[in-house]
Symmetry: C2
Subunit: 350 residues, 2 copies
Amino acid sequence: MKRGPLTTPDSRSETTVAAIGERALIERIRRRLPSAPSSLIVGIGDDAAVDEGERGMSSVLSVDALVEGVHFDRRFSTLADVGYKALAVNVSDLAAMGSAPRLALLSLLLPPQLPVSDVDHLLDGLLTMAAESGVTLAGGNISKSPGPLVIDVTVTGTVKARRVLTRADGKPGDQLYVSGSIGAAVAGLGWLREHGATGCETPDDTALAECVLRHRRPAPRARLGRLLGRTGTGSACMDLSDGLADAVQQVAAASGTGARIEANAIPIHPGASKWFSEHGADPLPASLSGGDDYELLFAVAHRRRGGMRLVQRQARGLALTRIGELTADRAIRLERDGVQLPMPEGFTHF
Amino acid sequence: MKRGPLTTPDSRSETTVAAIGERALIERIRRRLPSAPSSLIVGIGDDAAVDEGERGMSSVLSVDALVEGVHFDRRFSTLADVGYKALAVNVSDLAAMGSAPRLALLSLLLPPQLPVSDVDHLLDGLLTMAAESGVTLAGGNISKSPGPLVIDVTVTGTVKARRVLTRADGKPGDQLYVSGSIGAAVAGLGWLREHGATGCETPDDTALAECVLRHRRPAPRARLGRLLGRTGTGSACMDLSDGLADAVQQVAAASGTGARIEANAIPIHPGASKWFSEHGADPLPASLSGGDDYELLFAVAHRRRGGMRLVQRQARGLALTRIGELTADRAIRLERDGVQLPMPEGFTHF
């Protein structure tokens, strides 16, 4: 036997992935990449990748996994909910790029003792979301898992190259808007944790029931994303999968701006306000830092305010709330009546 | 609290996924799908999905995961090997469709205590394969894993719609060819298991060392796949990820044919022959059923034999061996000098 030329583990660096966190890991990977071809309009670090094709049409690609014990708990969600959500979170990533989803690939890691009926339920939910979003399940992969159940979904779509919404194209003075309301999913999960509900129970209170539903079956803003892109109204856009606080910081950092957010303007879901208040917590920071909201944060330039009125009219009852603006100086400010508040951290995976 | 309308687990059916197996699961999912748009040229059940785009160019999409404890063992492969292989197996799927890979998405599930240097090594290998195959890493996702390390890779490419190689277009009388040699990867894994090697040891015997390398770093036949597609030489094609026995059965079943394979013609890797013989096993069935060979099985119609000579000349030293033919009757026959032998099963994941 001889020693091969392969590298051995580097004993000098035993920093763990948990210690440096998801964002630093992504940045570390990005720094390692060779220069990409010019056709790659958007690479690592946005909601999805964008690759320019022929006739100005681009492909948009996103992948996102739901892992049992990390992203879902079978005491709180049925597998139909999990299948629905596994596709919904990817549809949300494409919406944030202004793209219509088209095809999905389903990569399943299944514990060998999982009942086949569980796979059926998972597929029920996934195909419900597919029908709602016009997505075709085109292929995938099934492997054995010695650990948790994992549902990893890739979604592809198209968008006109000059209509792509990235995180990076915001400018100082652009107004910041958020769709719908925030904090619902994290409040719904809080209710489920407190009540130990078993996948099919919901609160009697309607606002809280909405929160639980938002945790189990998020509503990606596919139509809004396309509208913002197609009309050229959005300058920058991102979904709130890791919370509004995170999204504001990410859009500002990618755009090379700061941001000023007016706390009183933030649309906190009534169920979340109620839930956090009843538990002695301030609903504002809890809702700002809570992940799993699949609303869109987007920036609108002053000259696009006409387009914004059009988008408002076509939003079909979805609230679009102005919450602040991008600023020339790089600070991230959360203010209430001119008094500065601390901006909470976003949700991180490690 | 009230009961919601969500479905409850079906207590009548507790058949597990291990009991019905991967292929039946895929078939079960396929039966559940609504009819696909006509632009989906190839859906679930082939090496990759194919979606027709503009100007006769189609998108090809594949996803495949490597799971620690299922697909790799860190005693036997470095993480650089694992990263290399995670992309290679997807490049192989695209090769089997006649497509050139273009973009990859990397979905990582990382145990929180994994050293960051391990992620670096994984990326070393993945980027080596990316450079070798002309693939750009365009995006991905990082999640926490409460269980094994998982590397799930999606690859996309393009192919002219009329040049797509599927499993289903073989005809009776088409000659069957296999590239390279078979059995190497399973023999290499056998050696590693016997010697308990720790990721960087290789056998002194050159043929066996090739087998170990084939297990750690498979060589996808990207150039051959494109050549078979572009010249119109291949009628049906599939990679040998689950072994040659499996591939023959899959191509015949998808094409609605049978197959006759001449055992003496099968190119068993010399290291595999040696390894199995030394361990008292018949190299033929062991090599036929061993997975993880990333060679191509392809069918060639009689009228394409001129094209096949061209492909042979351009194969740059890669052996292309005729091993049998597709037949009108649906039986799968393995023969040695006219005597029928039992055809072994392919590798299955459950």
